[in-house]
């Protein structure tokens, strides 16, 4: 197993060597730490993806919000009500929206299996198109292409609050039993979550917008907080390489923590006069 580690770390250090050698000529100066960061992060995640693909078993702690997805769609089916999925108000140029669409493809697979009515109002036309692609493929995978129709995913408006007003209108008139808010949100998050609460729906939110997490935490039943939201689609797919990337992400997080502690320790020693070099200058982060 560890010869894989040697190969990958060999390639990574070779790339960093070339970068160092041609620094200033091929490569611009000023963002060297970021380049080294990109290479190390990519190598780490790639190593664990590769490891997972060749069968290594990986433990993933349960995320409450994800187990509740199937349960929520089930409840909507029993009550004969629809499922509402809100993919956030940003466009496909935000990774949060891409993650939201990936979660939509899993939810669509469940609604196809349960034959529940799925309603996806979108705030951007490009999100509408890629959400349609995702849903069509999920209904195909679930073996129910007949249940899929294009206008299950429909456009409301590009404006943040016109979109919120439109989605509120859908909620209070069609009273969906399960509401999903997965994507990037701004101030309108509480408008949606409070309306969803007033119609008694199960609400599962997930977002990378740090400022909106408090509202989702207070108003929704389950909330995928920041990184949990980005890991959700890998969890739900349980494809080995995606789960491997979660492990890789954890290791990178561990590295960042080690880096922070060592920066703190070395800097404190410098301040106390024991060491005379400045770690931040060394790392080029000053």
């Amino acid at each position: 197993m560890n010869n894989k580690l040697l190969v990958i770390s060999g390639i990574a250090s070779f790339i960093i060597f070339i970068y160092w050698a041609t620094f200033g000529s091929w490569f611009i100066t000023g963002n060297a730490p970021t380049f080294v960061g990109v290479i190390i992060v990519s190598a780490t995640i790639f190593y664990y993806i590769d490891g997972a693909k060749s069968g290594k078993e990986i433990y993933l702690r349960p995320i409450p919000g994800l187990k509740a997805i199937e349960e929520a769609v089930g409840r909507a089916t029993e009550m004969g009500k629809s499922v509402l999925f809100v993919p956030g108000i940003s466009d496909m140029d935000q990774v949060d929206t891409v993650a939201g669409i990936n979660i939509l493809s899993h939810v669509a697979e469940i609604t196809a299996k349960y034959e529940t009515d799925l309603n996806v109002p979108t705030c951007r036309a490009i999100v509408m198109e890629s959400a349609r692609e995702a849903c069509r493929e999920s209904y195909l995978r679930a073996g129910r292409p007949d249940l899929y129709y294009d206008d299950m995913v429909h456009y409301i408006s590009d404006d943040q609050f016109a979109y919120a007003a439109g989605v509120n209108g859908i909620m209070i008139r069609e009273k969906p039993a399960a509401c999903f808010y997965q994507g990037k949100f701004y101030a309108e998050s509480l408008l949606l979550a409070e309306t969803g609460n007033s119609i008694g729906a199960i609400q599962i939110a997930g977002t990378g917008s740090a400022s909106q997490i408090p509202f989702f935490v207070t108003a929704c039943d389950y909330t995928l907080i920041g990184e949990e939201f980005f890991a959700a689609s890998a969890y739900l797919s349980n494809k080995p390489e995606l789960i491997g990337s979660i492990k890789g992400q954890d290791i990178v997080k561990f590295m960042v923590m080690i880096l922070m502690v060592s920066v703190f320790a070395l800097d404190s020693l410098r301040q106390l006069g024991i060491l005379n070099f400045d770690i931040l200058v060394l790392l080029g982060l000053n």
């Binding site: 963002n31 730490p33 970021t34 960061g37 990109v38 992060v41 990986i58 433990y59 993933l60 702690r61 995320i63 466009d91 496909m92 140029d93 935000q94 990774v95 891409v98 490009i126 198109e129 890629s130 408006s157 590009d158 404006d159 609050f161 016109a162 007003a165 439109g166 509120n168 209108g169 008139r173 069609e174 400022s211 997490i213 408090p214 509202f215 207070t218 907080i225 990184e227 949990e228 890991a231 979660i246 492990k247 992400q249 954890d250 997080k253 561990f254 960042v256 923590m257 880096l259 922070m260 502690v261 920066v263 703190f264 800097d267 404190s268 301040q271 106390l272 931040l280 982060l285 000053n286």
Partner: protein
Amino acid sequence: MDYMDIFGVWLSVFLTLSIFSYLYKDNPFYKAAEHLYIGISAGYVAVISFWQQIQPNLFGRLWPRIDANADMGMFKSAWYFVYEILNWVSTLGGWLDRSIFPANGIKGFDGISWIYIIPFMLGIFMLLRLVPRLGWLARWAIAYIVGMAAGLRFYGFLNSDVLMQVKAATVDFSGDWWSIFNGLILLIGTLSGLVYFFFSKEQTGIVGKISKIGIYFLMIKFGASFGFAVMGRISLLIGRFDDLIVSNSPQNYYATLWILSAMIVLLGIWAFFDKPETEELTV
């Protein structure tokens, strides 16, 4: 204050009160305001994105302003002939006045940047979604955007939200013990908060305890952000009441009072007759 302004004030008061009526219940006033808002905003965004994005940034780069008698090569004059065709189309054969494609190109950029033909094509590919057989071309445009998002955000977030925060992990020991204590709180809180986000580690034993502390910091952050947000939201409500009070001035013929009382009366009548209608399930 000509009639357009007064009508505008009455209209904005009516729309404001219609949206507020949503707090009572879903009612005809809110439905009207909501649907008008959806229509107007879809049109507004289409216009703004055309006049501030497609016309200046795309057409402006492909057909910049050239002085009429400049000697253009055979290829360039053919290119500006295409420009005239587009103009002919957009003014329906000259019937409308020349708006989108002013004579001799669009002021703004000095040289033609030919590379902008690619986003022009990708934009057309998106519109081809309307043609069933060619709809798959839109995937190329979406692929470009998703690829761009991955490349930009990978670099952006690694640079500003990870490395910059690592730089801030230092604690300044020169200050008094209180600032050192606070610096340590900051570091411990960040590290324990990060432990909570470990997925592939069982949250038991020492890891479980640290992540418990991390959750406490997260909860304080959520409570504080919520408390802070309450303040912002209240300010916006104050802003709306300001507008309603200002619109109630004599020269606006007391718009707010009149509309408010009319709506309350109408809502009362509507609520009286409304009982059966909401019970029946929508299709």
